[in-house]
């Protein structure tokens, strides 16, 4: 999977082609709990700040995509407009599992690519309170009667009787399947992923948690679904992130100081899970990520070795480890060595989740896919403060939602 540096890729980022698409402005709220705000407050805050960051206003926008897994059905996009400006533009309310925010970005990207918009706003938001990804739903009836129903003809809820449907367990099994296939992967390697992300988060003022933990603290924290302990699982929280996208044609006409901060979207890819035998009984988070990565690298003309930083979907520590392999960051089968070697630490060869990742930065579902784009953009602009990866030129943002949906955006620093 390792490819050599492509000589044309980096120089092409310097020229602005009319049909290219760029990030003009971006912002995220700190991920946290906001009991005194609602989703519209959070989304409006991120949207207004992203517009200001791009030196544009809502009146310049031709399209709005609002991603929120739990609010897409409530017209959240139109509700946001009522707080930031009702301009009559098309609104897309987007829900696509944990890829919701990235799908909102891609919706705006496609509108620009289609020639229907020059500028657009993508915002992702979620307010999760104390809901949690940890528990499954029980079935309750007045009178208990075992009658077959649904596509499995089940007489009661099957979660817990036919394996687990809980997220920590589903992703634990995905990690353990990798451990079954390749050497050098076990509890310690998974724990080291969490160690790294907690450590990284201490430098990120936007992270929900900013506390370093020892390997021992991580490995002895309460087990959710072995090997995932509590400190290896993302928390629930609230937050929003937004990005303003612009066509190359429009960007060209903007002042030099605006162009210099623009970041090119070199690839925007969305995949779903293709048929595989094993995915009929448990979600396959690998194949669609591999397919998305292949297409993203091909489209952007860059390879994994070109990446200066990666924000990937570490909903659980077991997930991050297998995505090293799925994204081609390590040699096939070598994800265990990759983390043990220190490669994905911020001072390693391929820094992964320098934001703290979902594990420590947090995971307000609809916001996550936009926040990853915010993070990579901020590094490529050289504006990431204490956590800045020096001289970052190319980055990748990856999210995956069960069901399944995977989105990858490859971003490149402007050389204009």
């Amino acid at each position: 999977m390792a490819t050599t540096k492509s000589p044309t890729a980096k120089s092409s980022a310097g020229r602005i082609s009319d049909d290219s698409v760029w990030i003009l402005g971006t912002h995220m709220t700190r991920f946290a709990r906001y009991p005194d705000k609602d989703v519209v407050d959070l989304a409006a805050e991120a949207s207004i700040a992203a517009l200001e960051d791009g030196n544009v206003t809502i009146h310049d926008m031709d399209v709005l995509a609002a991603g929120s897994l739990f609010n897409a059905g409530t017209g959240v996009g139109q509700r946001i407009q009522k707080q930031i400006g009702q301009t009559g533009i098309p609104v897309f309310n987007v829900a696509n599992a944990c890829a919701t925010g990235a799908t909102a970005v891609r919706t705006v990207y496609l509108s620009i690519k289609a020639g229907e918009a020059d500028l657009g706003l993508a915002v992702g938001v979620e307010q999760m309170g104390k809901m949690g990804l940890l528990g499954g739903a029980g079935t309750k009836k007045e009178k208990k009667v075992y009658e077959p129903s649904g596509r499995y003809g089940a007489v009661t809820g099957i979660d817990g009787y036919i394996g687990t449907e809980g997220m920590p367990g589903v992703f634990a099994q995905a990690g353990m399947e990798y451990a079954n296939t390749y050497d050098g992967v076990g509890f310690e390697q998974f724990a080291r992923v969490a160690y790294k992300n907690h450590l990284h988060s201490t430098l990120n003022p936007l992270a929900q948690y900013r506390k370093e933990f020892t390997m021992d603290e991580i490995m002895t924290s309460p087990t959710m679904s072995y090997p995932n302990t509590l400190l290896m699982c993302c928390p629930t929280g609230d937050g929003a992130a937004a990005a303003v996208l612009v066509s190359g044609q429009r960007l060209k006409a903007m002042p030099a100081q605006v162009r210099r901060r623009a970041v090119k979207i070199s690839a925007s890819v969305l995949t779903s899970d293709p048929y595989t035998e094993a995915s009929q009984v448990q979600p396959d988070v690998n194949t669609l990520t591999r397919n998305a990565a292949t297409k993203a690298y091909e489209t952007a003309g860059v390879g994994p070795k070109d990446l200066d930083l990666v924000e990937l979907h570490d909903c659980f520590a077991t997930a991050e480890l297998i995505h090293y392999d799925n994204l081609g960051l390590c040699e096939p089968g070598a994800a265990g060595d990759f983390i043990d070697s220190g490669a994905p630490f911020r001072d390693g060869t391929t820094p992964v989740n320098v934001s703290g990742g979902l594990i420590s930065k947090g995971h307000p579902i609809g916001a996550t896919g936009v926040a990853n784009v915010f993070e990579v953009t901020t590094h490529l602009r050289g504006e990431a403060g204490d956590r800045q990866i020096a001289d970052a030129k190319v980055g990748l943002a990856h999210v995956i939602g069960l069901g399944s949906a995977c989105a990858i955006h490859v971003l490149e620093k402007a050389a204009v």
């Binding site: 596509r151 367990g169 353990m176």
Partner: protein, 135 residues
């Protein structure tokens, strides 16, 4: 009216009870893809003809997790697993009759299908689940 033995129902319709309990899959007659749930068309090839096939009871452990935070009403910890039967079918299940301990549960271990009761409803009908136990 009393019955000598309570009525039993399988937890899911693809579990067949009887002298030797086993699973039955809907197999696409065109491409051979197997499904445990009702399908409108085959997810692999799109054709719409299926036949019932018996799935082997012997299996190997491909992946597992030990669930400590379980769904409401589910005893924990328990071992959730992905197994592959000797005929190459992937099945999601629990590993039962085995200590829920990562030192005991071993990737690649040989398993066989077994059944157990998960309780009775208010009419006295007993639900029978399947699991895999060390062979």
């Amino acid at each position: 009216m009393e019955a000598d033995t309570p009525t039993q129902v399988p937890l899911v319709s693809y579990l067949r009870l009887g002298s030797e309990a086993h699973l039955v899959a809907n197999e696409c007659t065109n491409c051979g893809a197997r499904f445990f749930d009702r399908r409108n068309a085959c997810a692999q090839c799109g054709l719409r003809e299926f036949k019932n096939v018996r799935v082997d009871n012997a299996a190997k452990l491909k992946a597992f997790t030990i669930v400590h935070r379980a769904a409401p009403g589910i005893p924990a910890p328990y071992v959730s697993a992905i197994v592959e039967t000797t005929d190459g079918t992937t099945v999601r299940s629990n590993v039962v009759n085995c200590e829920p301990d990562p030192e005991v549960v071993q990737l690649g271990m040989e398993l066989k299908l077994t059944t157990y009761s998960i309780g009775s409803d208010d009419d006295g009908t007993e639900a029978i689940a399947f699991g895999y136990q060390p062979a």
